[in-house]
Symmetry: C2
Subunit: 340 residues, 2 copies
């Protein structure tokens, strides 16, 4: 019996916020496995803000751009149903990079960051955690705070998009480590959630006067800013950051649909006067930290000190709308699509 | 006999490039020394681009702003002619912060960065070196390259304003240490000078196509950018910097007269994708490195591997025009005023 894979293709380069018409579902026969490949039935696929950047149709130093008329990809977890790999037997649960489809043929070896990893969920560990707190989103939060911003014991931390997949972990890690942490988010509900997971103060950027709100939350300034959005919140952080402060540049989602990305409001000069460090990073730059990261975060998950929220859409057909919902702030926590 | 001091006052907040009418010379009687003070007859005063920032009339985290109707200040060297300080005897040569005047009354103790330092020129060491390669400009170059940008053996270095007081030392230190170094400057003469002091390649930003010129000088990209100017050269550096590159934010002289300083062209996003570090600094943040810096740079001066150029204006009356000349690129090397 011939096997078919359903997958999501990019139909057009979106302008601004993508529309569902920019995507379409295609069905293609699954070819027989070549040597050292696995056939995976995906259980969950990850939706990440960075995917919007890959839809800009531009070559860049970032992840490779998606191609119009080509199938999208991204991190996913699933069960191996066929294998020609000695390393990965049938029935393994794997995290791999062939998301946006229900059935995937994946090379067992390759680029170390994207190659399939066998994961071993225990009773209390659910498969989706390997796309969330124990996945790239989790590593982004952990490495950004501890390695990129070099968090110190008395630092006051500010994180934007604090209810999101990355931000909610930044809030919790800083809080677990005893730092004062301030989070911003885009609705009253999200602000409540950010407080509930350990933020000492939180505000909604949609209420306006971002600088004033941040100043009230951080009367003595901030020492670390974990930037997920760029724009006005970056400007406010640069204004209020203390001497020798550190800014982890993680994302600038506010500008992902703009003609020119990454425009910074005009006060970088204060970075000189205050001796500020701004450091950009991607999770894969800290792949060598995976064992240390996995150990520490597993411990926090196991003892209940770290919790995690998902927005799970059902079925591949819902993936384009779920992606748009994530970009426009209508999801909370980690956005996933379940592929039954 | 009553002693008078001639000094330079700020008359108005300059708009854009300052005019000589924004300054005036005033003459005031010198008061008798209080306890722990010295009376210094200045020999040279330093002119620094950062002084333009202090003329913006804004409170900032930078150096304290100059006050309209008040005397300017800045680093200066001179001879002590009276003293009530046990630490600093008469006839000492001192570097201190009461420049822009011929005779200065200075507190012997105070803020560690600005307090008078007794300096000891030897036969081959001239007093002005303590405002140049062994002064704050020299420390800026040395610390910016070695401590802020954390120069590594194979780094390709790009420095803007490479014929200037700071830039010319950056070029030479990188060259002495065996790194490939590219400099930009504002005229063909300056470009020749930059090459003559060790730059492997150099170009004039006034010839246009900064990105193209830099790309031709650095076909394999750059690893370190020592930024003295901001603006278009920063944009080109961000475009061509290699993964994990480092940018020392030293000055943004291109924008010192602008309404909003420090505006960055729109590609900070690439800092994320490439894992770039941008770090601002002021020389005084590295005051603890002074002994190491002085040792190393004295050695290079003594053995002739490091040379230094001065643009010396004569007399206090010429100071305002000399300052304007420096800001508009009509000086080369370290701008000083000799006070006979």
């Amino acid at each position: 019996m011939e096997l078919f894979s359903r997958s999501v293709e990019l139909v057009a380069i979106p302008r601004g916020t993508p529309r569902v018409e920019d995507f379409r579902i295609v069905q293609t026969p699954v070819p027989p496995l070549g040597p050292d490949q696995i056939l995976v039935r995906n259980a969950f696929m990850s939706l990440d803000p960075s995917m919007r950047i890959r839809m800009r149709g531009e070559d860049s130093d970032y992840l490779a751009p998606y191609v119009v008329g080509g199938v999208l990809d991204g991190f996913s977890v699933g069960t191996v149903v066929q294998s020609t790999s000695a390393r990965i037997p049938v029935d393994s649960l794997v995290r791999h990079h062939a998301g946006w489809r229900d059935i995937a043929v994946v090379d067992a070896e390759g680029d170390s960051w994207r190659q399939p990893q066998v994961i071993e969920p225990t009773g209390i560990r659910r498969a989706q955690e390997y796309l969330g707190p124990l996945g790239p989103s989790g590593l982004t939060a952990w490495a950004g705070l501890l390695k990129v911003a070099e968090l110190r014991p008395d630092d006051v931390v500010f994180v934007s998009a604090a209810a999101g997949a990355v931000g909610s972990m930044v809030v919790q890690i800083a809080s677990i480590l005893g730092n004062r942490v301030i989070g911003s988010a885009g609705s009253a509900d999200k602000v409540d959630y950010v407080r509930s997971i350990g933020a000492d103060a939180a505000f909604s950027y949609r209420d306006g006067d971002i600088l004033g709100q941040l100043r009230r939350c951080a009367p003595n300034g901030i020492d670390v800013y974990f930037d997920n959005v760029g724009g006005e919140q970056m400007a406010a952080a640069l204004e209020l950051i203390n001497a020798r402060g550190r800014i982890a540049l993680c994302g600038m989602v506010a500008g992902y649909g703009d003609e020119v990305m990454g425009q910074l409001p005009g006060n970088l000069f204060s970075a000189i006067a205050k001796g500020i460090t701004l450091r950009g990073f991607l999770a894969r730059m800290y792949a060598e930290c995976l064992p240390e990261f996995t150990d520490q975060v597993s411990g926090w998950l196991d003892d209940g000190s770290l919790t995690y929220r998902y927005s799970i859409a059902e079925g591949l057909d819902s993936a384009p709308q779920a992606f748009i919902d994530m970009l426009t702030g209508r999801t909370a926590g980690k956005a996933l699509v379940a592929l039954p």
